[in-house]
Symmetry: C2
Subunit: 144 residues, 2 copies
């Protein structure tokens, strides 16, 4: 995957991060480690829940996209993470459902003297029907 340089990034730039599908095992294994709620780790409980099926832990889809798509392109440019806002779990993400991810630079402030740029990355996730299922704004300080 081609690495990006922070100096080349621009406000309103959009990235297509393709599609990710989580299997039942992906969902259960992630939740056992990081979000061990009954309806994320037990299929029977999930089927009886309001979701009527196994759904991924809220953070899993964002985290998977971040690791698979964002870090390979931008990980080497990071000075530090600053904050995370508006992380909304709008609709369930089920097992075996391809979820597409679009990322937009919604805020960008360069500091040439300090040789850094603070960027807010807006993530949007869509299910196969085109419904937005999750969104998050992640603010990161990058090396210029």
């Amino acid at each position: 995957m081609e690495k990006l340089f922070a100096k080349d990034l621009t406000l309103n730039q959009v990235f297509d991060f393709g599609s990710i599908t989580l299997s039942e095992d992906d969902i259960i294994n992630y939740a056992k480690r990081y979000d061990p709620l009954p309806f994320h780790i037990d299929k029977k409980i999930a089927d009886a829940s309001i979701f009527k099926g196994l759904v991924s832990s809220g953070p899993q889809m964002f985290n998977t996209s971040y690791i698979k798509e964002w870090v390979p392109r931008l990980g080497d440019t990071v000075i530090c993470g600053l904050e995370l806002n508006n992380w909304k779990f709008l609709a369930p993400i089920y097992a075996n459902q391809p979820i597409t991810c679009k990322v937009t630079i919604i805020h960008l402030k360069r500091n040439e003297a300090e040789k850094h740029v603070v960027i807010t990355w807006n993530y949007q996730f869509f299910n196969p029907k085109g419904k937005m299922v999750q969104t998050a704004d992640v603010t990161v300080m990058h090396k210029l």
Copy 2:
């Protein structure tokens, strides 16, 4: 650990979640899986970074506290997570540094007809000098 019931929770209620210390191995192992940035997984790069030492991935302390302290008390009451806001990485969290966690209910809206309550949980984390190093607001729908 004593389980709590959502019906008993009240606005402004405060919970002391004690202290968590992450080892170097804890930090590196977590980051390799979920936040593989160079300064979280390589001690030499971490020493040469602005942090001058190994620091945990932003989400790790919150996630550890959530799993160890919040889920055992409240996991059985969760209908679904709704959103996460104001997650601020205010200062680095180093290896072998005991971090205390205080959680406050800052918003609570009961819906008796629907038998649920929406609660915003404000997490605050402090280093041994009493400096706040991280905070986050997590909004969850609980069964009444």
